[in-house]
């Protein structure tokens, strides 16, 4: 009789057999997914980290699709992008999604960092996760830079040239980095291949590793518990389950993002400028918008000063949780000073960005 019942419910038997094939502690997964999530995470602006992750997944999926058609060779790259845009079925949509998801990812990342900074979520014991997050920002910007160059249109080609020149101005190791990026003393045939390998090989590997570490640390530390004054929350409502409650929220945000990206792709499809011409410098060279602040600094100072300044700024941001901790202990700096500093720093970034956009 028992045998008969088992035959009547083949599914149970199927999962049983699969779990026997993979001798994993499935209870651990159940435990991990049942992590209690603080109530404030129900507010969408605390989900920006998840938004970045969702956009990253879109980038991986659309990126792989584009790789089937893209040819990383100077004499065919532009043509292959044109083919993707004009001939390949849904090619324009995939390319537009890739472009807009990249931009949205950087925007979401900045917003995520703003939230983390102003809520002090990077403080002890979560300093390391801020550092990892900052490395992920650097990797994402490098993704943007290398990806833009792969289009091999006139502006992106010359953007890559300027980028390599910027790298060259890094003290001590600059010339070596620039030589490595260009694949020679000048931007040439090897440059595109190197950018391609970085874009689809090295950077994704690093990104996967760091994202894994980032999430692992969140899980190990748990999400920062935040108290909103004047809002007493009963004990039983202070947490909710990751699965399925929070996962459903993230899924909903994912669907909304797909709507947004599809509308962007429809209304502003990724275009294509003039093909790259290494012999003719365009009248105006501009990088992508997220490098405008740096480009403005460069014009206001000099190549070397702007690069050193940006590196110093990047170093300070990277180590900020430790620097802030040290300064707070030594000088008894009140919290509002760090808030004001954050506001000023971000406003400075915005001013330089908008300023550069208004300069021809």
């Amino acid at each position: 009789m028992a045998d008969f019942q088992e035959q009547q419910t083949p599914q149970a038997g199927f999962f049983q057999r699969v779990s026997e094939l993979i001798p994993f502690d499935w209870e651990l997964i159940r435990h991990a997914s049942a992590e209690p999530v603080p109530y404030h995470i129900k507010k969408w602006w605390f989900c920006l980290g998840g938004t970045v992750l969702y956009l990253f997944v879109i980038q991986v999926a659309t990126g792989i699709a584009l790789t089937f058609y893209y040819v990383p060779s100077p004499d065919q790259a532009y043509e292959s992008v044109a083919q993707i845009t004009q001939d390949v079925r849904f090619g324009w949509y995939i390319r537009s999604l890739h472009k807009w998801a990249a931009n949205c990812m950087i925007v979401a990342m900045f917003l995520h960092m703003l939230r983390v900074y102003f809520t002090g979520a990077y403080r002890h014991p979560r300093q390391l996760n801020w550092c990892i997050g900052f490395l992920l920002l650097g990797i994402t910007l490098t993704f943007g830079f290398t990806g833009y160059s792969l289009v091999y249109e006139q502006l992106s080609f010359w953007g890559a040239t300027v980028g390599a020149n910027l790298a060259e101005a890094v003290p001590l190791i600059g010339p070596t980095i620039a030589y490595f990026l260009r694949g020679g003393p000048e931007v040439g045939e090897n440059t595109l291949t190197r950018f391609y390998v970085l874009h689809i090989g090295l950077l994704p590997t690093l990104a996967f590793g760091l994202v894994f570490l980032h999430i692992l640390l969140i899980r190990l530390h748990g999400v920062t518990e935040l108290e909103f004054e004047g809002k007493e929350v009963p004990e039983k409502e202070r947490h909710f389950r990751f699965w399925p409650d929070h996962a459903t929220t993230e899924l909903l945000i994912g669907v909304l993002l797909m709507y947004l990206l599809t509308i962007m792709a429809l209304v502003f499809p990724a275009g294509l400028g003039e093909p790259a011409n290494p012999t003719q410098t365009p009248e105006h060279i501009k990088p992508e918008w997220y490098f405008y602040f740096n480009f403005r600094l460069l014009k206001l100072t000099s190549l070397r000063v702007s690069v050193v300044f940006t590196m110093a700024l990047g170093g300070i941001c990277f180590l900020w949780p430790f620097i802030e901790q040290w300064l707070s202990r030594k000088f008894k700096v009140p919290d509002r000073v760090w808030v004001m500093l954050g506001v000023l720093a971000f406003l400075g970034f915005l001013v330089l960005t908008v300023w550069e956009s208004f300069v021809q």
Binding site: F118, T119, E229, E283, L350, V354
Partner: protein, 531 residues
């Protein structure tokens, strides 16, 4: 600081971030519009034309595809459409069209430019029938039944009166199965800037904005103006090429941003050199921001007229309906609000006629104000002292020409007419009349234009040198010669007149330099050339 405040800070910064991104996107899209060539848009209305003409006249279609018009979907029918019954219209593949595109057609979209152009000297360039130039082309160089010199020469710059072939009853003759009206071949093709069109409009936008690409860089380039503003009587392009401005332009053409869409602003879009368009009609930066120019009224900033026998400063009288007249400074200015009987030239029955129109004065712009607008462009590169001193040098040259040569020569010519030596109906009967004409119309203009645009060689060797040489060696002897044709007494009268003139201080040098001056001259040649 509690979390709620921080939440507001994050929200405010996020909002500012969004605003910044939108500003960047707006600027980016503007920039990309300029840098990226837009694809031609063939609307359903124009598809038929493009499909056929791509085979019939492929280069024409390619040029149109290259234009901004094409990028915005403005095509063949939008400019060439006509109404049934118009003299130049015929039914072509289901649409009434005309080969003639007049400023009124362009005004459908470019109304401001049309209005500014219609007030300008350029629009009146076709009103040259009552001029000595026209007499020379039609009479001296032409013959009855063959006006080819005017047709191929004068009219190609000044513009023709567009006429149609007509039968004995005055009806237009048509040709082909579509009954296309036949335009008098003497009057079209013609892209003269003052062309007199059948719809009453004056001008041809094509004169500066060559079809069918209509590139801004073309109309901003000095060569474009040089098609007409050149030669012995007004060599502006040669003078420009000789000037520091011209040299800077040709060396730095790649930095002139000639392709800039919309306003092309000196001090914002480019700085390397001024072109004709820069000084006469373009926008420029000032310490108070951008001065946006009246971009199609070319004479607006001109303070001297350098064309007549004797130059005068020019005030402008602008009437309520926008009609504009230059008033030489020697002519009394009306008051604002006065009604003046103005003379306007219009085409009636394919002939140019004058008509008197009472108009009320709305505004007066003095020559000083006109000059001030021109100086604004100069001040982008030069100091005010530099610019003021340049104008002083220029003014002095014009006054020198006026007082030493033009005024005495004109007085003599007027007297020859009054004494009956010259026939007022025969402007080119005698040698003296030809010499006098070239003295002011060719050499005198070259000198004045040379000084106005900083062309030293044109000011002196092609200008004042020729004026003085011909004044002394050709004009004055020719005056006596023509006077003698009316008898010995008349001859003696003008001999004496010439003697009196040469006795004036500025002409005494002809009889000899001072001993010191002559010695210095000899020594210089001795030292320098061992002569």
């Amino acid at each position: 600081m509690d979390l709620t405040v921080k939440r507001y800070i994050v929200a405010a910064l996020s909002f500012l971030f969004l605003v910044s991104l939108l500003l960047v996107a707006y600027q980016e899209s503007r920039r990309l519009r300029v840098e990226r060539k837009l694809e031609p848009v063939v609307t359903a209305l124009n598809k038929g034309c493009v499909d056929c003409h791509r085979t019939d006249s492929p280069a024409l279609v390619m040029e149109w595809e290259h234009s901004q018009h094409a990028a915005y979907g403005v095509g063949c029918v939008d400019c060439h459409s006509a109404n049934q019954g118009e003299v130049d219209a015929w039914l072509h593949e289901g649409e009434y069209v005309s080969a003639l595109v007049t400023p009124l057609d362009c005004a459908n979209c470019h109304e401001k430019e049309y209005r500014e152009f219609s007030q300008s000297h350029h629009a009146k360039a076709g009103e040259i029938l009552a001029s000595l130039d026209n007499v020379l082309a039609e009479k001296a160089a032409g013959m009855p039944g063959n006006n080819a010199d005017s047709v191929n020469g004068c009219w190609q710059c000044h513009g023709s009166i567009i006429r149609f072939e007509r039968d004995e009853d005055g009806k237009t003759i048509t040709s082909g199965k579509e009954n296309r009206p036949v335009i008098d071949s003497d009057t079209w093709p013609n892209s003269g800037i003052g062309r007199l069109n059948p719809d009453g409009s004056k001008g041809s936008c094509h004169a500066c904005h060559s079809r069918h690409a209509f590139e801004a860089k073309l109309s901003r380039s000095p060569e474009n103006c040089g098609k007409c503003h050149m030669g012995p009587d007004h060599p502006q392009i040669e003078i420009y090429n000789e000037s520091k401005h011209g040299i800077a332009f040709y060396a730095n053409r790649d930095r002139m941003a000639l392709d800039t869409q919309g306003d092309w602003v000196l001090g914002r879009d480019y700085s390397a050199a001024p072109t004709c368009a820069t000084c006469h009609i373009s926008s420029y930066m000032t310490p108070n921001g951008q001065y946006t120019a009246n971009s199609h009224d070319v004479g607006e900033r001109i303070s001297w007229t350098l064309r007549p026998v004797i130059s005068t400063l020019l005030n402008s009288v602008i009437y309520q309906d926008g009609f504009k007249e230059d008033y030489p400074h020697t002519r009394e200015l009306p008051e604002i609000g006065d009604t003046i009987e103005t003379i306007e030239k219009v085409v009636e029955n394919e002939e140019l006629v004058s008509r008197t129109v009472p108009r009320q004065v709305a505004r007066i712009v003095t020559w000083e104000e006109r000059r001030q607008v021109m100086k604004g462009a100069c001040l982008n590169c030069h100091s005010d002292t530099y610019v003021d001193n340049f104008y002083q040098q220029f003014d002095d040259l014009v006054i020198l020409y006026n007082e030493k040569f033009a005024r005495p020569a004109k007085a003599i010519m007027d007297d020859l007419l009054a004494d009956g030596v010259l026939n007022p109906n025969a402007p080119f009967e005698h040698h003296v009349q030809w010499v006098y004409f070239e003295l002011w119309h060719h050499e005198g203009r070259r000198a004045r234009h040379g000084a106005s645009m900083m062309g030293p060689d044109y000011t002196h060797w092609h200008g004042m040198y020729e004026v003085s040489k011909h004044f002394y060696q050709e004009f004055l002897p020719a005056v006596v010669e023509v006077a003698r044709t009316k008898g010995a007494a008349m001859g003696r009268k003008y001999e004496q007149r010439v003697e009196e003139l040469l006795a004036q201080e500025e002409h005494q040098w002809v009889k000899g330099l001072s001993d010191q001056e002559a010695e210095e001259l000899r020594q210089m040649y001795q030292q320098r050339y061992n002569e």
